[in-house]
């Protein structure tokens, strides 16, 4: 794998880095430290800038009006876009556009008209409804939400939990069991409208994150027309699995971006902070923390870019994506923790971003498939077969 950046990649990385430092950082200085949304006029102004840079909707394929970047370039940019306080979960506050629900790129024409295009135009919002109280890492077994055919409709009953954005969404992708005895081959993906009778947002699930909370959903005889099936009946598992695997690369990259920024801040700080008459930079204990940070970052970055490279080659990248996810989320946690320690008391205040990164980074070891499950995936690929 060649890790030499092309001139275009280098230029894009510098452009996004400048955008974060010059446009996002100053806004955050006045925002609530847990905020995840810009004022509408600021958002519009910055979208104008990213559009001018040719980077708006960078995750969207060219055929749908996006920037059409390869995974490697997109990963490099993700590492830049997350380098601010809210960057882990809302990189640049969405001013580079949102990928929407990538599964809709494979929807039929009617579904694209009703859901994909309005989402890309910012007129509709969707959610991804997979995880259930019985679990999220093993959709083949954990999905107990049932959909039963009734004439031209399907009737859905069940529950979902830890679903982001469902309370504000116009529609959602809901995975339900349509063939009880078929395991992973018995799950179907339905597009449901949130104003359909029987759709309930039962509660907000409060977590370490103060914004971008999760919700618990309940479906009570939710009647969905057959035309709202995404893909084929019993074909939902591959839709879910594809998304989960692909998402692990940008997910890892965002963790790395935060780690890189935390390390930059720690390095700046040790050069100006004195203790016992000398700079922190002269203390070997502190130097070792910075060295460990750097090794953590470089190791995880290599694995993440290797996964992106394989994805770009069209080769299977499940193992590589799992390794990137483990390495970046665990390294990110360690780096933020050390940077916080270097900053002492200031490190835990809300004046600095470390406390938010610390809370949110902890979630990353669980989100998008817990790291233990990622290890299981790698073991399966190494040893072969399916085992428990």
């Amino acid at each position: 794998m060649d890790l030499e950046l092309s001139d275009e990649q280098r230029m894009l990385v510098e452009q996004v880095r400048r955008f974060v430092r010059q446009e996002i950082d100053p806004l955050e200085a006045d925002m609530d430290p847990d905020a995840s949304e810009l004022a509408a006029e600021e958002h519009e102004r910055l979208v104008g800038m990213t559009t001018g840079m040719g980077l708006y909707q960078m995750d969207v394929p060219e055929e749908f009006g996006g920037a059409g970047l390869d995974v490697m370039t997109r990963t490099l940019l993700a590492m830049e876009m997350s380098q601010h306080r809210a960057g882990l979960y809302t990189p640049c506050y969405g001013t580079f556009g949102s990928m929407g629900l990538a599964q809709l790129y494979d929807a039929n024409d009617d579904q694209k008209e009703r859901y994909l295009y309005p989402t890309l135009r910012g007129e509709k919002r969707g959610f991804f409804g997979l995880t259930e109280p019985s679990g999220g890492s093993d959709p083949a077994r954990a999905i107990q939400t049932r959909a039963v055919q009734d004439g031209d409709d399907w009737v859905i009953n069940g529950q979902k939990i830890f679903i982001s954005g469902a309370d504000r969404a116009d529609f959602g992708l809901v995975f339900a069991r349509t063939s009880p005895d078929k395991g992973r081959a018995g799950v179907t993906c339905f597009i449901i409208d949130t104003d359909m009778p029987g759709f309930h947002v039962r509660r907000i699930v409060h977590t370490l994150r103060s914004t971008h909370y999760a919700t618990e959903l309940q479906f009570e005889d939710l009647r969905v027309p057959a035309e709202n099936i995404l893909g084929k009946v019993d074909g939902g598992f591959s839709i879910a699995n594809e998304r989960l695997t692909r998402n692990r690369i940008p997910y890892a990259a965002a963790c790395l971006g935060v780690a890189m920024r935390a390390q930059d801040m720690a390095i700046e700080y040790v050069k100006i902070r004195e203790t016992f008459g000398d700079l922190l930079a002269t203390r070997q204990t502190v130097q070792n923390m910075l060295i460990d940070n750097e090794m953590d970052i470089r190791t995880a970055r290599w694995l993440t870019l290797a996964a992106a490279h394989k994805a770009d080659q069209g080769e299977p990248f499940r193992t590589e994506a799992a390794m990137a996810k483990i390495a970046a989320t665990e390294a990110g946690g360690r780096v933020v923790d050390r940077a916080m320690q270097i900053h002492g008391g200031y490190g835990v205040t809300k004046e600095f971003p470390f406390e938010r990164w610390f809370r949110e980074m902890r979630i990353r070891r669980i989100g998008e498939g817990p790291n233990e499950v990622q290890r299981l995936i790698i073991a399966r690929d190494l040893i072969g077969g399916s085992f428990h």
Partner: protein
Amino acid sequence: MAIRLEKAWRPLTDEVVKGLAAQLGVYQISNNKEEIVYIGYAGGRSLWGLRGALQDKLAELGEGYQFRIEVNQQYLSRWEELLKVHKGDHDALPPGNKDHRPRRVGQLSLG
């Protein structure tokens, strides 16, 4: 934690408010009929937490109102939850929040 904030109302006066700690959290303000007129939060940038936020509201509204608080580090998600609950109960946001939010409040099925 109950989904609704159900603590007893206390008079929104300088004397009562100055006794509050400067913690982060959410609060509600009601008129003398116990109708909620505003739901707010004291976030990480507030100088004096809930005490400061309520002192500001007292200066803005004057006396004749009541308040109740909940100390909460997850003040933003709790604030949004209280707005949703109010909207679910009354089909509208409190008068003081009507022009306040940049984004949609969202739905919550109560009951």
